[in-house]
C-alpha cells in the first residue's frame, strides 16, 4: 500500500495529519492546561499480523471507536498506564483514580484525541465521518482477532503531556474501500 501513495500524496496526507493532530494537541492542551508535544505522523500500510503485534503491549490501555460516513474505519487510542493519575488531576478528577474513574478518564481522553484528529482530518478533505462512543478494548481477551481485511492504511501519531509522564498514540485505521475515497479526496486537494 505504501507504493500506492505517490510522493505528493504521502506529503499531503502527512501534512493533513500534522494539522489535525495539531488541533487535537491543542484541544488536549486546553483541557489539561499543559503543553502537549507531538511526534511526526507515521503513515504505513499494515497487515493483520503487524496490527495484532501492535496490541501486545501490557503497559498501555486501549480504546476503540468506529467512524462512519464518507470514509469508514476505526480509531484506536493507546494510552500509557503511567501518568494516568497526574493527568486525571489536571482534568479535575479525584485522585487516586478508582476503577470507574480511570475508565471514564481514559474514554474521555481517547474521545477528545480521536475526535479532534478525525474531524480535523475530514474537514480538510471535505469528507464527513461521525465517531461513535469509544469503549475500552482488551485485546488479550480476544482469542483470535477475526479480520476481514488484507491490509489497511494506518496513520499514527504520538502525544506526550510534558507535565506528567503520560503519553498516548492515536491510530486511525481505514477500511479498504475508504482508502480509495481518501486518495480521491487527496488528489482533489493536490490539483
Amino acid at each position: 500500500m505504501n507504493t500506492l501513495l505517490s510522493e505528493d500524496q504521502r506529503d499531503a496526507l502527512q501534512e493533513l495529519m500534522n494539522i489535525s493532530m495539531g488541533q487535537a494537541a491543542n484541544a488536549l492542551a486546553r483541557l489539561v492546561g499543559a503543553k502537549v508535544t507531538l511526534s511526526i505522523p507515521r503513515i504505513v500500510s499494515v497487515t493483520p499480523l503487524q496490527f495484532a503485534e501492535m496490541l501486545n503491549d501490557t503497559d498501555v490501555w486501549y480504546t476503540r471507536q468506529s467512524f462512519l460516513g464518507h470514509i469508514r474505519g476505526e480509531v484506536l487510542t493507546v494510552l500509557s498506564k503511567t501518568g494516568c493519575d497526574s493527568i486525571g488531576e489536571l482534568m479535575d478528577y479525584e485522585v487516586p483514580l478508582d476503577h470507574d474513574a480511570l475508565s471514564e478518564l481514559l474514554l474521555e481522553l481517547a474521545n477528545i484525541l480521536a475526535g479532534a484528529c478525525l474531524s480535523g482530518f475530514t474537514e480538510q478533505l471535505a469528507l464527513n465521518a461521525k465517531l461513535s462512543m469509544p469503549t475500552l478494548f482488551f485485546p488479550e481477551n480476544q482469542q483470535t482477532v477475526h479480520v476481514h481485511w488484507a491490509s489497511t492504511l494506518m496513520m499514527e501519531v504520538e502525544f506526550k503531556v510534558e507535565a506528567s509522564q503520560f503519553d498516548s498514540r492515536v491510530v486511525i485505521c481505514l477500511e479498504d474501500i475508504a482508502v480509495d475515497t481518501l486518495l480521491q479526496a487527496l488528489n482533489r486537494l493536490l490539483e
Partner: protein
C-alpha cells in the same frame, strides 16, 4: 516591481496551499524553501521581504529561523503558518518578533486580512 516573497514549508501541499491563498492581484515574486536553512538563504539573497514560515521543518525549524532573523534581519516581515497551534507556540513566536501567527489549514480570507493589516495590499 514585484515584492520578493518566500514560502518556507517542508510540505509541498502546504506551499501550494499558501500560493493558492495569496490574493491574485498581489504582484509577488515567489521563492519556495523546504527547510529553515533554505529559508535563511532566501532571506540573505534578498528574496524574502515577506516570509511565510512553517514551524516544524527539518534542518532548521521555524523557531530557529525566527531567532536568527530577530537578531540579524529585523526588517523581514514573518507570517508564521503553523499546525502547532498551542498557546505556548504562539507565545514563543510572538516573543521572537513574528508579525502574525496563522493556523493551518490556512484560510484565504484570513491571509488577505493579515496582508492588508501589514499594508502589503
Amino acid at each position: 516591481m514585484p515584492i520578493p516573497v518566500t514560502i518556507a514549508d517542508d510540505s509541498l501541499m502546504s506551499r501550494k496551499a499558501v500560493k493558492r491563498a495569496l490574493p491574485p492581484e498581489w504582484d509577488v515574486d515567489i521563492t519556495e524553501a523546504c527547510n529553515g536553512k533554505e529559508a535563511l538563504l532566501a532571506v540573505e539573497s534578498g528574496k524574502a521581504e515577506v516570509l511565510f514560515l512553517d514551524l516544524t521543518m527539518p534542518e532548521l525549524d521555524g523557531f530557529g529561523v525566527l531567532k536568527y532573523l530577530h537578531e540579524h534581519h529585523a526588517k523581514t516581515i514573518v507570517i508564521v503558518i503553523s499546525a502547532d497551534i498551542q498557546p505556548e507556540a504562539k507565545r514563543l513566536v510572538d516573543s521572537l518578533g513574528a508579525f502574525r501567527f496563522l493556523h493551518k489549514p490556512l484560510q484565504a480570507e484570513q491571509l488577505r486580512e493579515t496582508l492588508f493589516e501589514v499594508g502589503l495590499i
